[in-house]
């Protein structure tokens, strides 16, 4: 069975600084997808970024980038130039490529506070 671990329950960062959120996962699969979701106080879940395991290049979306280390089973999220609107819960999620039901397995989340 696959598991996803987010070892940082809470983090804080000063506005305009950079912060990295950690995520590790356990799987015997070789092909899979990884996701970071953001949940602001509004409670809406928003996809931030995704990574295909077969791609060596790290995904980037504007100020958000990942450090994907397949051998270490690590998938960290880096937020550059943090903004107050980045304050949210962040969830890491895993999906097997060969799962025909496309089920996501989520970590327990990291609460990020951006301080002004």
């Amino acid at each position: 069975a696959q598991t996803v671990t987010q070892s940082q329950p809470e983090m804080s960062v000063q506005e305009a600084e950079t912060v990295t959120l950690s995520c590790t996962y356990d799987t015997s699969e070789s092909n899979y997808y990884l996701f970071w979701y953001k949940q602001p106080p509004s409670r809406q879940m928003i996809l931030v970024i995704r990574q295909e395991a077969y791609k060596q290049q790290n995904a980037t979306e504007n100020r958000f980038s990942v450090n994907f280390q397949k051998a270490a089973k690590s998938f960290s999220l880096k937020i550059s130039d943090s903004q107050l609107g980045d304050t949210a819960m962040y969830f890491c999620a895993f999906m097997k490529q060969r799962d025909s039901s496309y089920k996501l397995i989520f970590g327990s989340g990291t609460r990020l506070l951006v301080r002004p």
Binding site: Y33, R50, F91, L104, F106
Partner: protein
């Protein structure tokens, strides 16, 4: 916005009463999911559906049942609510395939069982 609504948005009910939560989508997506969110646990899958009348269990399905009689509606039922089912419930739809796959989430329903 993938056209997902959930109803009700908030509900308080008593232990032992039946509760049904509704998820409605407007775009005829095949895959739909019900999650619960609890502090320290993230989102955990309760049940999912891969078509009309086609459903299966997730990791925390005990005490819950689902039905999908129409593509657009996915119902989650707590037959006899318990305090341990106090939670925030999210519905999601799956879109795309492979590398373009994404789940879109509804706004959530906060359920309190007293």
């Amino acid at each position: 916005d993938a056209g997902i609504t959930q109803s009700p948005r908030h509900k308080v009910t008593e232990t032992g009463t039946p509760v049904t939560l509704r998820c409605h989508q407007t775009e005829n997506h095949r895959y739909m999911y019900w999650y619960r969110q609890d502090p320290g646990h993230g989102l955990r899958l309760i049940h999912y559906s891969y078509g009309v009348k086609d459903t299966d269990k997730g990791e925390v399905s005990d005490g819950y049942s689902v039905s999908r009689s129409k593509t657009e509606d996915f119902l989650l039922t707590l037959e006899s609510a318990t305090s341990s089912q106090t939670s925030v419930y999210f519905c999601a739809i799956g879109t795309g395939q492979g590398a373009s796959y994404e789940q879109y989430f509804g706004p959530g329903t906060r359920l309190t069982v007293t």
